[in-house]
């Protein structure tokens, strides 16, 4: 057992060496790291947001708002299909639970209407990768001449899935344009998105850039406008919308499709200044379809006021002076320069398919981050020295062997963390220090066993051999149980806690490896070279 073949010895030492090689860039200064030949590993461990400072934002698709939007769209589709294309008279109302009730008032066209409505429902895939087959997106129930249309659960899920996918794309475009290229955007669960941006002092811009839906519409104002007197009622076909800068001020805006141009047809938006007043504005350009509609609308309504509406708020309400036929225009709304820059980016990147809300926020300022790094390094160094000293104190010469194994263990642990580019958090550092404390357990088990075997009267070689072989089963059992806890922790955890689970788990693997290979190798080397008569243990 103490005759290790050369290749085994070399591979053990090789693995330890590789660990240190990958760990090395973490302690080298930048200047040295830059000059290193490129075949050497040059990556450092990734610091978590709690160490480098930054923002972690968890967003959730606002389902209720999405359902409302979908219902509005469905309503428009029904009207388009039944009346505009087939001249079937009908009424539509929205039930409280979000279902559409379509009543056909042409008695002889009910069957035709049933057929048309049926076609509105697209099949959607159910389950991951379509494993559950397909289901109808919209469920239609019929009661005589009344049809009740509602989104099925599968249909809704599919819509949410698509909304999240699209939202991630839009957010990525926005953050790229803002120069926040280090930010990561990830889906979490079916309806959530994590945005993490390192090094942010104040996440306000980030929140605005991600969270603004940016649905832009151009809508004609109603003839009547609110006067502020109590008991006023919003006229039919109009909606009340607040002013963007002054929420107390209200406008009545026409809601019909004829009076609306969607901002979805924008192809470009840029921050600029008004040539006459010098006021910061955003200029935009429509695509052909949008330009055509915008041209028609402005041509028909010269002299009337229209509202530029952003996410349900009126940015400004200018009067149409001349028809705008070229497909470009400008938005003014008492903006600051910063606001126009951000707005232009957001408009260019497109609107979010659904409203997103923040359900969790964790922001760490740079001062706390650097304090945490300093404290973590300090605790690691002192912890390491304490454990090293303790081992020499209790085991003397064998304590030094254990210490060499411990340092190799630490090198490999940091090396693996760096090679996998795992994220190191403050609890992760705690995991490393804890691993240092617990790692000596495997050596203690072996050494105690050797002591026992010596007491039982075994010879030097025999005691060493049985000590190692008998202790190993125990070491394995003890470590696998801790590994179970670490795996569960990883599954549960988010962010910092997960970082702890990672270092704990990797620490267990390197611990078992060093105990089984490196400590034995060192002892074997000592036995074959010094040929000891007694064991100083």
């Amino acid at each position: 057992m103490f005759r290790l073949s050369l290749w085994k010895t070399l591979s053990i030492l090789g693995i330890v060496f590789l660990g240190f090689l990958f760990a090395l860039p973490n302690v080298l200064p930048d200047s040295v790291l830059k000059q290193m030949p490129s075949f050497l590993p040059n990556k450092r461990v990734v610091l978590g947001l709690d160490l480098q400072g930054g923002s972690h934002l968890l967003w959730e698709v606002d389902k209720q708002a999405l359902i409302r939007t979908l219902t509005q769209q469905l309503r428009g589709d029904v009207r388009q299909n039944l009346w505009n294309e087939n001249k079937i008279r009908h009424t539509i109302s929205v039930r409280k639970d979000g279902a559409l009730v379509v009543t056909i008032t042409d008695p002889d066209k009910v069957e035709k209407a049933a057929e048309i409505l049926k076609k509105l429902s697209q099949p959607v895939q159910v389950g991951l990768f379509g494993t559950g087959g397909t289901a109808k997106e919209i469920e239609i129930a019929r009661e005589g001449n009344r049809f009740i249309l509602r989104y099925s659960q599968a249909g809704l899920d599919a819509r949410i899935r698509r909304a999240v996918e699209q939202a991630i794309e839009v957010i990525r475009r926005r953050l790229d344009e803002l120069g926040m290229t280090e930010a990561t955007i990830q889906q979490q669960g079916p309806e959530r998105i994590i945005v993490q941006a390192p090094g942010m002092k104040d996440p306000a811009t980030l929140k605005k850039a991600v969270g603004q839906t940016a649905r832009l519409t151009f809508q004609l104002l109603c003839e009547a406008q609110p006067t502020g007197q109590p008991g006023e009622r919003v006229p039919a076909g109009c909606a009340e919308m607040p002013d963007a800068k002054n929420p107390a001020m209200k406008y009545w805006v026409q809601t019909s499709r004829r009076a609306t141009v969607e901002g979805a047809d924008l192809v470009d938006a840029q921050p600029a200044f008004d040539s006459r007043t010098g006021e910061p504005i955003v200029t935009f350009r429509f695509n052909q379809k949008g330009a055509l509609r915008f041209g028609k609308l402005t041509q028909k309504n010269v002299g009337k006021p229209f509202a530029i509406v952003l996410d349900g708020k009126v940015v400004s309400a200018p009067v149409i002076q001349t028809p705008i036929l070229g497909g470009s225009g400008q938005i003014s709304g008492r903006f600051t320069v910063e606001e126009t820059k951000l707005l232009a980016i957001i408009l260019r990147s497109g609107a979010l398919p659904a409203k997103l809300t923040i359900v969790e926020e964790r922001t760490v300022g740079p001062s706390l981050g650097s304090d945490s790094i300093r404290a973590g390094v300090m605790a690691s160094v002192i912890g390491l020295v304490a454990v090293l000293a303790f081992m020499i104190f209790t085991y003397g010469f064998f304590g030094i062997i254990a210490d060499i194994a411990l340092i190799a263990n630490l090198g490999m642990l940091v090396g693996l963390l760096t090679a996998f580019q795992a994220t190191l958090t403050l609890p992760g550092i705690a995991g490393i220090v804890l691993t240092l404390g617990m790692a000596v357990d495997s050596n203690v088990l072996v050494f105690e066993r050797i002591r026992e075997e010596l007491r039982a009267g075994r010879s030097v070689l025999n005691a060493l051999e049985t000590g190692f072989s008998r202790a190993f089963g125990t070491i394995l059992d003890a470590n696998i149980t801790t590994l179970i806890a670490a795996v569960v922790l990883y599954g549960l955890g988010s962010g910092p806690v997960r970082g702890f689970a990672v270092t704990l788990g990797i620490g267990i693997i390197t611990t078992v490896f060093t105990a089984y290979t490196l400590t034995r190798l060192i002892v074997a080397f000592w036995v074959t070279t010094a040929r000891p008569k007694t064991i100083p243990i």
């Binding site: 923040i358 912890g383 304490a386 209790t394 064998f398 403050l426 220090v433 003890a478 806890a485």
Partner: protein, 314 residues
């Protein structure tokens, strides 16, 4: 050559098992007190589980808590807490979830910032919505239960069912006493404490498994020894290791506690407690339970008939 020092002398023979009855009664009382404390006093849940907002600030000089309290009290944020955080300049501000959705939370943060002025360094802002905090609570409970079950299955697989039950009993003991500690000290119970509890489960189990391993080995070797004596023998044989490992782990943890910063102090404190309780429980809970459950070895093929004869004896 460096002389090793034996913290536990050779041939130590402490009789643990006669004390086990006292220990188990004491532990049972401690568990009941812990449960009563947790039920009656409740835990001081952090925003991870309760929802709400946490702001850590650093003021220029030592913070004037009374003045800060006055300033924030004027904002009408409902119930809020101020707490010094490791340094007289560092203050934690915590307030409950504001009614009115996400906007209301962001508004509240902005109002606190406006009230405190810009001479204050905002070191940390955390907002946890009610939905997320509910999920974190559920996930936390599930994690602890899954870890206990996973461990039980592993030990059942590697040992016998008595061992599995004994291990889980001692782990449950550790978890409940830790929860009791939090009920009585009013320390903040947050997500990192769940991480600490799971690590305690791992550590305490590590200790228990090492002791069980030796008990099993001795069961094979001394087939006729009565179980209490056999357990005492095993515990004494492993005593040196138990103490050394606990001490070195404590050394690492104490270093973290004193130098690792305020953010993880609650976590390390819990771990230190866990190492002490876990070491105690593997000796005084996990081991004697084997006697009560009448642990015996089911012979494996290599052990032949001798063990079977032994096992058949009344």
């Amino acid at each position: 050559m460096l002389k090793p020092i034996k913290l536990v002398p050779d041939n130590t023979n402490i009789r643990f098992m006669p004390w086990s009855r006292v220990a188990i009664i004491a532990s049972t009382i401690a568990i009941l007190v812990s449960i009563a404390g947790a039920v009656m006093l409740g835990l001081n849940f952090g925003i991870d589980f309760k929802g709400g907002t946490l702001i850590e600030i650093r003021t220029e000089g030592p913070a004037n808590i009374t003045e800060l309290r006055k300033k924030i009290g004027k904002l009408g944020l409902g119930s809020f807490e101020l707490q010094e955080f490791g340094d007289p300049r560092d203050i934690l501000i915590r307030f409950e979830t504001q009614p009115g959705g996400e906007k209301a939370q962001q508004n509240a943060i902005n109002r606190v910032k406006a009230a405190l002025g810009d001479k204050v360094d905002y070191r940390r802002v955390e907002v946890v919505g009610p939905k997320v905090s509910g999920e974190l609570t559920k996930d936390g409970i599930i994690a602890v239960v899954v870890a206990l079950l996973g461990v039980m299955i592993y030990i059942w697989f590697r040992f016998e069912w008595q061992f599995a039950l004994g291990a889980v009993a001692s782990l449950t003991h550790d978890v409940l006493l830790t929860i009791g500690l939090f009920a009585f000290t009013r320390m903040e119970f947050n997500l990192s404490i769940i991480a600490a509890i799971l690590t305690i489960v791992g550590y305490s189990l590590n200790d228990t498994v090492v002791v069980y391993d030796r008990i099993r080995e001795n069961m094979r070797r001394y087939k006729k020894k009565p179980l209490p004596e056999l357990i005492d023998l095993s515990l004494n044989q492993m005593l040196s290791r138990t103490i050394l490992t606990s001490l070195s782990t404590l050394a690492a943890l104490l270093s973290l506690y004193f130098f690792g910063g305020e953010v993880i102090r609650g976590f390390t404190f819990t771990m230190i407690w866990g190492v002490l309780v876990g070491t105690y429980s593997s000796i005084f809970i996990a081991a004697p339970i084997l006697i009560w459950l009448g642990a015996k070895l089911i012979p494996t093929d290599e052990e032949g008939k001798a063990a079977e004869v032994e096992a058949a004896r009344p």
